[in-house]
Amino acid sequence: MTAVFAFLGRNTLGFFRYLSGIYDLSAKAAYWTFVAPFKGRYVKWGSAIHQMVVAGVDSIPIVSLISLFIGIVLGLQGAYQLAKFGATYFVTALVGVSMTRELGPLITAIVVAGRSGSAFAAELGTMKVSEEIDALEAMGLDSVRYLVVPKYLAMLVMMPCLTLISDLSGILGGAAFEIAQLGKTFSMCLSATQDALAMHDITTGLIKSLVFGLIITKIGCYEGFSVRGGAEGVGKATTSSVVVSIFLIILADVVFTAIFYFTSS
């Protein structure tokens, strides 16, 4: 019995320690992003732009390709169901709405978590193991300011951009299927999408993508900083950064989708 309590207690403590670690890191990052620039300590825009290229621009091919496939799959599955009612006209609407509200942000976040979140954890973890982070601190240079803030900024800028690209390629994928199989024309698809989509479909997706971007950066950087002991630690941190951030992304997705659902009706 005591063993059960000890197990529960240890894990609960560990969980709260994890939360407080993430809170500390976020508070420091927010300070260096929003407060410190007013005290003359500017954000490192050079490395922020570098991160935007690495985490954002370089993700465009894979994000758009996967979204294109998801769009085609949505079209296929939608047509399979809607054909029973002779309502294949609505396939376009189905693809458009599900991409912008849900799948665009989600697919983007999962790809970026796998690509960049893990890279953040590996980069910071390696720097931690090779004493580079200590060396920064020893020079009086704040590691959060130099290493974390540029990643935050890059993600906050690039996640909405990538999500828009994903929305667009998903819709194009759906349209490609409809043109090939359902005998529609491109302009029919275009106008049907325009009819189906409302502005808030796109904005709610973009709000989600910002939240997902924050989650990916927080978890990736926190896991990187908490690496202990050698290459094995870096590997573990990389893996758990991906697992934890995908879990949190889907959790946040549930919460935000529920909020949007209940506030819009």
Partner: protein, 266 residues
């Protein structure tokens, strides 16, 4: 910092540190006289590197004080300590060069970020520091292109970038062949003669310790067991010091009964 400060540059008093439940440093008291080279000797896991990390405030102690020029650094705010930190250079065990930057950028980083100097001035100062450690001509190499000894030299050039008054070395000869290690030692001697810095070297290399030290401190299991001039340490009668200096392995003082009990207990 006032330059007319009398007394030891660094004073460690009653320092106690734990990693989790394990006690790493046990009431350490130590003075580092201004302008002298102090070598901290001891086996692996005796807390000597931990002591060094405390002086750089990379770890915080459970209790005790670390005074640098008479100011206790533990309760200081980050901004206050940054003023002191600029006058301390540290060479890490793995050299800790930033792998994404060239050697020149590594050495120039503290100057770029912490001073208002012109780029051309920074370039000249960087070249001077690299020249000092014998790395003239390697400015545009990446750290991964350098050998272990050269990385240490480049790390030293970076530690010297801000013209520190205190220089800390964590295992400067670790992982180097004897010739390269001797090269690093003679570099430390050269710096000591040229700049009158207060130097702290953590090592377990006996030869190098006796070559560069003005004073030697021997640590064992988180405690200072002897401190004095190299001559005093050589003549010390402390059993653990003798064991360390004469390289006698840890005895297998295992009681047979005790050993059997340790196997059956869980």
């Amino acid at each position: 910092m006032p330059s007319d400060f009398e007394g030891p540059m660094i004073r460690v008093s009653d320092l106690v540190t734990h990693y989790g439940d394990r006690r790493i440093l046990n009431h350490v008291n130590l003075d580092f006289p201004t302008g002298e080279t102090m070598v901290i000797l001891g086996g692996s896991g005796t807390g000597k590197s931990t002591l060094l990390r405390h002086i750089m405030r990379l770890e915080s102690p459970t209790s005790g004080q670390i005074l640098i020029r008479g100011h206790d650094i533990c309760p200081m705010s980050e901004d206050q300590f940054n003023q002191i930190r600029r006058k301390i250079g540290m060479l890490f065990q793995s050299a800790a060069l930033f792998n994404s930057m060239t050697i020149e950028e590594n050495v120039a980083l503290p100057l770029r970020e912490l001073t208002q100097l012109e780029d051309s001035t920074i370039r000249i100062m960087t070249r001077i520091k690299l020249d000092l450690v014998g790395l003239n001509g390697f400015e545009n190499y990446m750290p991964s292109q350098l050998s272990g000894g050269m990385k240490k030299r480049a790390g030293l050039a970076r530690a010297l970038a801000m013209d520190p008054e205190i220089l800390l070395f964590d295992e400067p000869s670790a992982g180097l062949d004897p010739i390269t290690a001797a090269g690093i030692d003679s570099l430390i001697l050269k710096l000591k003669l040229a700049f009158r810095m207060t130097i702290v070297v953590v090592t377990h290399e006996l030869a190098s310790a006796f070559m560069i030290a003005d004073r030697i401190t021997v640590m064992d299991r988180g405690e200072v067991i002897a401190t004095g001039t190299p001559e005093e340490i050589r003549n010390s009668q402390h059993p653990r010091v003798l064991q360390f200096l004469n390289r006698i392995p840890e005895g297998d003082q295992v009681d047979a009964q005790e050993y059997l009990r340790s196997l059956t207990e869980n």
